[in-house]
Symmetry: C2
Subunit: 527 residues, 2 copies
């Protein structure tokens, strides 16, 4: 006792909104609505509404530790719901509306979710989920009018309940910082979806990481357009990080298309925009076609999938911004590495260094650390303050004996400590007993200015087992010849890595997270 | 158990140096030596040396929880010692060499310090401390040659011990994150010095706060000249924050004078320099006199005492930098608020907003919260993750019933949430039963371009009790008249606040922390 001590300060997520409400009360959360309208609210008012949502949930019997589902777009009401659920110590299960009712019902049931909060236009999907999932008792509708007669009696609009809610007895943050705050199922590109649990402490520390000048570098003077969906991987932590510094948060609502995003950026003077590369492709195409300018926008942060070099160059040139690359995954809360903002040496291939709190290891296929950790390709493992230890519902650890989590990514680390993702282990193609890495081929082809998106998959072959084929979405509707597409490969990969066939597709299929949907490509073209 | 979980990651300070050594192995720590020489070392090598210091201490019987004293300048060896002591779970007691042997011996004895690590030129002072403090058994000398025959046999040079040390059994970080890491006695401007305990967790969270883009915004591409002494208030946390992002750390060694600092800034291309205002005054005077330029330097961070507006303007103009203001104190680890870097609206009077993890309250003299918290002057209290809860050796809390720590500062908070320090409660002058705030008078007089430093103290008066007098260090040796010094006050303060006398002093006396020494001024001029 005589040692002296510092104050107790629990790392719980409610503190971000409380801080924003007290120190940045008029900084806004802006949500795009249909027809070019927006909703806007200051953090002080948002806090009050959010606490009322807690009161409503409490009235429905929701207690600390219970899972509350959301099936919603990026909107103010969704932010209010996040803080309401997490602030009272319940766990926010974010459901991806691009998945099927069967998939989502399995997640809701596994998490024993009784209450779902859903965007109005997703209420029919939510009703299907409730029909399948036995645990779901109650749907609360946000962001729009409740359709009449379509639903079971357990469906109710949230807004009228808020007006009647009494939040004076609501207590936020009265639980251990290690309590779970969120639950997000991986989209399950292979096997059954796995639930990743986030805790208050892990998401709090992840937020402090994002705010570093060498990471996302958000300041109170920024306006951050968050296109990454709140139903996926914590929206990269932005609904925590943006209020934590009192920046303005702009949410795109239902629409990710180029014209909608351009109009929103200009109307709200967004300075930073965050999302996966395929979203920015739509914005670039609109800007190039319309000649519109985006003078306020300084930086676009991308991640979630390899960024084609030609697309990065095109985004920077067409939008007049710098692109900041990053790497992460759902199990990392989700960020792992960031290239520094405005790095003069930035490159699409490089995903930056880990900030304090994240550590990386290159191993062989069995998980043994390679003796040399720099400039050697291997399997990537990660360890840190916001990395999954155990999936939801599991008793076994998701890490190895030294606490490392196997990402499934192939990577190398350069002399400067920068991470270069070189592929996905499960995407590797085995041809004649040897491995071919599709990501290396894709990187070379994607560097062609005529190429918008490229994907290489294995096609079954009677002699070789598998052979690579190239699927490509070109910029000018196929004006580039097959030979021109393959030519750069002849200098950069082994002759037997050259794809056997080229298939041109007008629109690359995207998975629910916006990444190229290789599962669908394999089903359609791999046989 | 079925909830799922994230990985365990203890917030201990050894992680900063481990991270720097792994991810920024060649980023340097540079120390200025006498005669313009420098020592330089990369973080990877510094980590190895630091672990050897732990081995030496372990060999001397130092265990987790034990206090190890340092009496040293800002040098590489001091950084190595910090991490060695804290990494093994011992507590680093930083002693201020500008205090007396009697004062320092009292601190060492109170902390039951057995081992002191001391800069060679401070060894005589350390020997005096050891003579007085019964607990001190051993002096280890760093940063220079050991003088012959002057000391007791318990004095030894550390460097030869390092060569023989075996660090393979040294374990760092194997303790609770709430364990104490550091101990710093306040300089005791009133009453007995009080020991402020820092914990690993509090200093770790403080570091993450410093790294935010809206706080100190240090990046891996920065070179940070840390003039704030490591013997005071954690050197504002820079020996943690700079390695944590892999920036280059430049330490000034023994010399704070203008020519030494200018030469060091230019030789090492410092981008950010951090210290109290009076240090920068010396640099400004040298730059103005010599015509030298400091092209690499972009920003100077000041704090620790009110910054005279004219001095801020002069620093910016003469050095070609932006000045970033801040407010903090030893009990806050030490930072409280920061104005954003490169804020176009920056002002010497404004100390910025609290970042997440710090909260402020304005109270009356008894500690009751004022009903209005904006634009009203009152007594400042603070609460947060790195704020003292209990002084070393005390059993009673240093906070009130709601967990607020009374800073002793007078302040107001503007509409935007910015903190404006308006004075020190104990500096107030009582004249005719009414209070006069010397800080308000000082701010007005300091705004005169002819004034370098100004201080107002109370002088005993037979009728009024106390009357204010102005002590002033002027820029051009007294070319400004008394009337010109007082003129701006006639428009800004009540007539009875106008000082009764002006005393010109060629060199303002500074306390051991570099602030104006009001205690000495009161002794010399207050009677």
């Amino acid at each position: 006792m005589i040692d002296g001590d510092t104050q107790t300060f629990a790392l719980t997520l409610d503190k971000f909104l409380e801080h924003a409400a007290k120190w940045h009360p008029r900084a806004e959360v802006v949500t795009a609505r249909d027809g070019g309208r927006v909703d806007r609210i200051g953090y002080a008012s948002l806090l009050k509404r959010s606490r009322r949502v807690s009161a409503v949930l409490s009235g429905l019997g929701v207690q600390a530790g219970d899972r509350v589902g959301t099936l919603a777009w990026n909107t103010q009401a969704h932010v209010e719901t996040w803080y309401a659920v997490m602030g009272m110590g319940a766990v926010c299960l974010t459901l991806n509306p691009r998945l099927t009712a069967v998939q989502l019902a399995a997640m809701a049931a596994k998490a024993q979710t009784r209450v779902l909060i859903v965007s109005a236009d997703l209420a029919p999907l939510a009703a299907q989920i409730a029909d399948i999932a036995p645990t779901v008792e109650r749907l609360l509708v946000i962001d729009g009018e409740l359709g009449k007669g379509d639903f079971a009696p357990s469906v109710e609009a949230l807004e009228p309940l808020l007006a009647a809610a009494n939040d004076k007895d609501v207590v936020w943050g009265d639980f251990a910082e290690t309590a779970p705050s969120g639950l997000c199922f991986t989209s399950g590109t292979t096997g059954a979806p796995k639930g990743v649990t986030y805790t208050h402490r892990s998401s709090y520390l992840h937020t402090l990481r994002l705010l570093q000048a060498d990471v996302m570098a958000i300041t109170a003077r920024d306006t951050v357009l968050t296109v990454v969906p709140m139903f996926h991987a914590n929206a990269w932590g932005l609904p925590f990080a943006v209020p934590a510094v009192g920046a303005k948060l702009v949410l795109q609502g239902r629409h990710n298309d180029g014209p909608s995003l351009a109009a929103l950026i200009n109307a709200e003077n967004a300075t930073i925009a965050v999302g996966i590369a395929t979203v920015w492709l739509g914005l670039v195409e609109h800007v190039e076609a319309s000649g519109i300018e985006l003078p306020s926008l300084k930086r676009i942060v991308v991640g979630g999938a390899p960024l084609p070099p030609a697309l990065m160059e095109r985004i920077e040139r067409s939008l007049g911004v710098t692109v900041q690359t990053s790497w992460g995954m759902t199990e990392l809360s989700p960020s792992g590495t960031f290239a520094p903002p405005d790095d003069p040496a930035r490159s699409a291939a490089v995903s930056g260094r880990p900030a304090i709190g994240v550590d990386l290891l290159i191993t062989d296929a069995e998980g043994t650390a390679l003796p040399e950790q720099r400039n050697v390709e291997g399997h990537l493992r990660v360890r840190g303050a916001a990395v999954a230890e155990r999936y939801f519902g599991e008793t076994e650890s998701a890490t190895d004996g030294e606490g490392w989590f196997a990402t499934g990514d192939l990577a190398k680390i350069d002399t400067e400590g920068n991470l270069i993702i070189t592929g996905r282990a499960k995407d590797l193609i085995k041809s004649g007993g040897e491995w071919i890495n599709p990501a290396e081929i894709e990187a070379v082809v994607s560097a062609l200015p005529e190429v918008t998106l490229a994907a290489v998959i294995g096609r079954q072959h009677p002699k070789w087992g598998e052979r690579p084929i190239l699927l490509v979405q070109t910029r000018d509707h196929g004006m580039i010849s097959d030979e021109a597409l393959l030519a750069p490969l002849r200098d950069s990969v082994a002759p037997w890595w050259i794809p056997d066939a080229i298939i041109r597709i007008p629109q690359m299929p995207l998975a629910p997270t916006g990444k190229i949907d290789k599962i669908r490509l394999r089903v359609e073209y791999g046989g």
